[in-house]
Structure formats: structure tokens, C-alpha cells
């Protein structure tokens, strides 16, 4: 099965919806080990994305993703702005002018985006960041695709892995971002950025399931 341009647009819309629905949760998580603004930042960014989307909804997927990245970069600020912004910019560049994606394209989209985050933020697995959601999700997705699971099933596997990754951030001591200033006091709290990453992947699943 393939993922259409309209489904990508629907994914971004669904992402905005779930992130805003979880604004309080993300901010509250950030207040424990950060500066209590992650939900506010993500909501501000995706509100802007929703304003921009109509102007590019009929363009190719690369264009849509790059516009999303640029919009996040220029509206969020903080650490998550350039990180998520880079995710969409890089994935957009990888996909280029395609208007429909194979499963392999979808994997490349997510993989290139996540690699961009790693390159930018230099976080490794276990640093208590969004990377702790992205990497397990990508491994699960890769494995599922190799087992010739369908798109939806593969993405579901990725989402479940991300959810587990979020849980796994709780016992970690932060080594990147604001939380790292807290040293040991960062242990025992769930990472807000990993949580928002899980929500974005869940939004993708919801979108694909709808069809």
C-alpha cells in the first residue's frame, strides 16, 4: 500500500490536533525537569503550521514537509523548534517531489528526519530526549517492513515501540537539554520531547488507519 500526499497533509493536521489536546500534559512534564513550555512551544508551532498548510497542500510532499519544517523553526524557538524543524526539513529534502510514498519511502522519511535531529542535537539513545522515542520506533518499523508486514501494521509496531521508549526515559538521568542541569534530580520524570514524538507517530497511525 502507498501513502498519498493527502494522507501526509492529514497526518500533519492530526499531529496538530493531538499535540494541542496534550498541551497541558507536555508543559507539565517539562515543568518537572525543564522550563514548563514544551506544550506551549509545540502548540504555537503547529498552530502556525495549520495556517501555512492550505497554501502548500496541493504541492508535492517534499514541499509540504519542508514548509512545515521552516514554519516550526521560525515559530517555536527553544530546543524543540530547531529539532522538529530539522526533522521535517530533512525528510522533505529526502522525499523531494514525490506525490505518493512507498513503504520504503515512508521509512526513509522518518529515518532521515530522525537522523537530522541526531545530527543537530547530538543526543544518543539514553540521554533522556526525544531520540529515546525515535530510535526504538525506527528499529521496530524497519523490522516490521522486513517481515513484509503491511504499512499500518508496521507503523503500529513503531508507535508501540515509541510508547515503550517514552516509558524508558523515566529512570534515566538527562544528559542533554535543560534537564541535564538538574543532574540526578532529572531521574524519575518522563521526558516531554520523547512524549511529543510518540504523539506525532501516533497521529500517523491514526491517519493511516482512517483509510
Amino acid at each position: 500500500m502507498s501513502v498519498t500526499r493527502d494522507q501526509i497533509v492529514a497526518w500533519l493536521e492530526e499531529s496538530a490536533t493531538v499535540l494541542m489536546a496534550n498541551k497541558e500534559l507536555l508543559t507539565q512534564l517539562d515543568s518537572a525537569i525543564g522550563d514548563a513550555d514544551h506544550g506551549i512551544n509545540m502548540a504555537r508551532g503547529f498552530t502556525k503550521v495549520m495556517e501555512k498548510l492550505p497554501t502548500v497542500a496541493d504541492k508535492d510532499i517534499g514541499n509540504i514537509l519542508k514548509t512545515t519544517g521552516m514554519t516550526l523553526i521560525s515559530s517555536v524557538g527553544g530546543a524543540s523548534g530547531p529539532l522538529y524543524g530539522t526533522f521535517y526539513m530533512r525528510s522533505g529534502m529526502a522525499i523531494g517531489s514525490k506525490e505518493e510514498l512507498t513503504d520504503e519511502d515512508l521509512f526513509q522519511l522518518l529515518k532521515t528526519g530522525a537522523d537530522g535531529i541526531i545530527q543537530r542535537g547530538r543526543a544518543q539513545l539514553g540521554d533522556k530526549t526525544m531520540i529515546d522515542a525515535w530510535l526504538p520506533a525506527l528499529d521496530a518499523l524497519r523490522a516490521a517492513l522486513d517481515d513484509h508486514a503491511g504499512t499500518v501494521a508496521a507503523v503500529r509496531a513503531a508507535v508501540n515501540a515509541a510508547e515503550q521508549g517514552v516509558q524508558d526515559t523515566i529512570p534515566l538521568q538527562a544528559r542533554k537539554g535543560r534537564a541535564s542541569y538538574l543532574g540526578e534530580r532529572s531521574i524519575g520524570h518522563q521526558d516531554p520531547g520523547a512524549t511529543s514524538t510518540f504523539l506525532i507517530l501516533k497521529a500517523l497511525l491514526t491517519t493511516l488507519e482512517d483509510d
Binding site: I73, S74, A79, G81, G85, R122
Partner: protein, 357 residues
């Protein structure tokens, strides 16, 4: 919350408007994206020095825009790093052909947004370099973390590198000097009270009548430890010791490789202060502490430095890098060689710092 403000969403915008009408000779303000820039920018052939960060630290950075210091400053929301389009647009506005140096305080958000801005500027053919300031000795371990925060040394670096650019240093020499200043400077801060972010409406943390917070950053974040309030002499002695006794500090910073258009890691280690060092001593108010109290601190600081064989050859005393109305202070010591002193003494004419002009 008791502040002289109007609607909370307008706080930063209105303060910038006030700066613009107050100092038309020194600077102008561009809105959307927001940046403060030198009235006479771009200065042809001069390296442009740009800094920025969250608002709430005034006069830094906007108040340091002008002859001999910054060409532009990019203010984010209160305590929130600015977005790359601000630094990118500012760079385009003030680049005089000799390139742009971004002076970046080491907070993940600031670092990443300035890096993105550098890439955008580079793509436009602007020569660019990013130098980090990470001088806060209150943050200990650094190897696998975001490392030390950028605090007081930022002000001194902006003055010194700004003067060097004015004197004709090229981009690489400005970057080298800025890196040196950062490696020569160390800071430590404390708070007598918390501060209130307008959007939050209540103090970021609570402090008892006889408590103080030691080792704070500049965003109202809690510090290294909480202690019961003691005398100015004891507090000054404790903080000065933290700075003077701090060992070698190693970290990996990321700088821009213009030729290969990629980020390269640089490992830097700076040496502790030692007897015989000459220093610039900077006693800074966090905003709510009056200058009179800073002089009581400076008196003790000078006494300790003398006893430790560290010679204070210049000083700066007052509110320069603040946390809104927070009461408290920070001490920054910057090892000063002839190059640093020459540019420290050079004329500067900004709303926040002025001499020789």
C-alpha cells in the same frame, strides 16, 4: 506580580519600541522578525557581531548594540531563545561584507537556533561563525551533558570582540578572540529572591525570608544549592572561591567549517586561575539589587583576589546581565592579557555600556 507592563503578550515588543524611540542615534529595531541593529549598519568592511537570547536580561543584549560592541541583537520572548529567522535576517541586515560572528550563550535552544541561522546565512553567501560562551562554574560535570551555561562572560566578550571588529579584525580573528575570552572567563551567580516571568504571573521559585539560592543561572532556574542567608562577606568569599578554585574545564564545542559547509567538533580545555593572573572583575546585579550593595561585594572580592595574588586591573559594577527583577548578583572574573585589555579600554557607545565616546 508587580511590574510596569501593559498586556503580557506585548511586553517585549513595547520594551523594544521604547528602546527605539529612546536611542535613535545608536540603534534601530526591526519587528517580525525582531532584532535590534546598529543605526549605521551595515558598516562596510567590518565584521558584524551579533548576539541574542531570551529577553529579560536587559540591558543585554539589545542595550549593547552600537559603536564598539554589537551590530545586532536578537531578543526572544522572556527567557525563550529567539528563532533562526531573527538571527538570519539580522545577519543579512548588518553584514558589511566581512562576515558575521554569532556570540551564543550555551543553552541547547540558543545553540540549535543559532546553528540553524548560521546555515541559512551561509547558504546566502554570508561568511559566518558561531562561538559559544559557557562560563558558569556552578554547572560541574560537562562531558556528556549540555555543559556549562553562558552567563557574565557574555557581556565582556561582546565588548571586547566588538572593539576588535571595530579595529578591523577579520572574522577568524574575531572568532579566535571570542573563544579565548570565553576560555579565560568564569562566573558564579546567586539569588536573594526569585523573579516572575510575566506570562507565568508568579515567581519561578519560592525562597524563604532567610534563604538564598547559590549557583543560579539567568532564567530564574533554581541553582546548585539552597542555603540560609548570611553576610555579604561570607557569600562573596564562597562564590569567589568557587571561581578561583575551579579546576581545568573541558568541553566539546561545535563550530562552523566555512570551506566544507559543515559543523566540526572542537575540544577545548581552559586552565584554572592562578596567582599572578591579571583579571577584569565584573560584579553584576541580577536586576533588583542596588549598586550600593554591589560595592560591599566588590570590597570583599578585591580583598580576596589580592590575598590570592590575582590582580584586578579593570572592573565593571552594575546591572548588565539580569534576570528581570531578581535580587542577587553574580561575579565574573576574566583573565586579561594585553589584547583583551586593549579592546576592553577601546571606546564603546551603546545605551548600556559607554566610554571613550
Amino acid at each position: 506580580m508587580k511590574k510596569l507592563i501593559n498586556d503580557i503578550p506585548d511586553v517585549v515588543k513595547e520594551q523594544l519600541e521604547g528602546m527605539a524611540v529612546a536611542h535613535p542615534d545608536a540603534l534601530s529595531v526591526h519587528f517580525e522578525p525582531n532584532y535590534v541593529y546598529r543605526a549605521d549598519a551595515p558598516v562596510a568592511g567590518k565584521v558584524a557581531i551579533i548576539s541574542g537570547g531570551g529577553s529579560g536580561h536587559e540591558p543585554m543584549h539589545g542595550g549593547f548594540v552600537g559603536m564598539g560592541m554589537l551590530d545586532a541583537a536578537c531578543p526572544g520572548e522572556v527567557f525563550t531563545s529567539p528563532t533562526p529567522d531573527q538571527m538570519y535576517e539580522a545577519a543579512r541586515a548588518v553584514d558589511g561584507g566581512a562576515g558575521v560572528l554569532f556570540i551564543v550563550k550555551n543553552y541547547t535552544g540558543d545553540v540549535l537556533n543559532f546553528e540553524t541561522a548560521a546555515e541559512l546565512a551561509h547558504a546566502d553567501g554570508i561568511k559566518v561563525q558561531n562561538i559559544l560562551i559557557d562560563d558558569d562554574v556552578a554547572v560541574k560535570d560537562s562531558l556528556y551533558t549540555a555543559g556549562r551555561r553562558g552567563v557574565g562572560t557574555t557581556v565582556l566578550a561582546e565588548k571586547i570582540v566588538g572593539a576588535a571588529a571595530e579595529a578591523g579584525y577579520d572574522l577568524d580573528k574575531c572568532a579566535d578572540l571570542c573563544r579565548k575570552v570565553n576560555m579565560y572567563g568564569r562566573s558564579m551567580g546567586m539569588a536573594l529572591t526569585s523573579c516572575t516571568v510575566p506570562a507565568a504571573g508568579k515567581p519561578t521559585f519560592e525562597l524563604g525570608e532567610d534563604e538564598m539560592e547559590i549557583g543560579i543561572g539567568i532564567h530564574g532556574e533554581p541553582g546548585q544549592k539552597r542555603m540560609s542567608l548570611t553576610s555579604a562577606d561570607e557569600i562573596t568569599a564562597m562564590m569567589t572561591a568557587e571561581i578561583l578554585d575551579d579546576g581545568p574545564y573541558s568541553r566539546t564545542v561545535r563550530e562552523w567549517d566555512r570551506d566544507n559547509a559543515e559543523w566540526v567538533d572542537k575540544s577545548l580545555t581552559d586552565a584554572p586561575f592562578k596567582s599572578g593572573d591579571q583579571v577584569i572583575a565584573f560584579v553584576n546585579s541580577m536586576g533588583g539589587t542596588p549598586v550600593s550593595e554591589l560595592y560591599a561585594v566588590y570590597r570583599k572580592l578585591a580583598e580576596i583576589c589580592e590575598a590570592r595574588g590575582v590582580k584586578i586591573v579593570r572592573n565593571l559594577i552594575g546591572p548588565y546581565i539580569t534576570s528581570l527583577e531578581m535580587a542577587g548578583f553574580s561575579i565574573t572574573l576574566l583573565k586579561a592579557d594585553d589584547e583583551i585589555l586593549k579592546f576592553w579600554d577601546a571606546p564603546v557607545n551603546t545605551p548600556g555600556l559607554r566610554w571613550g565616546a
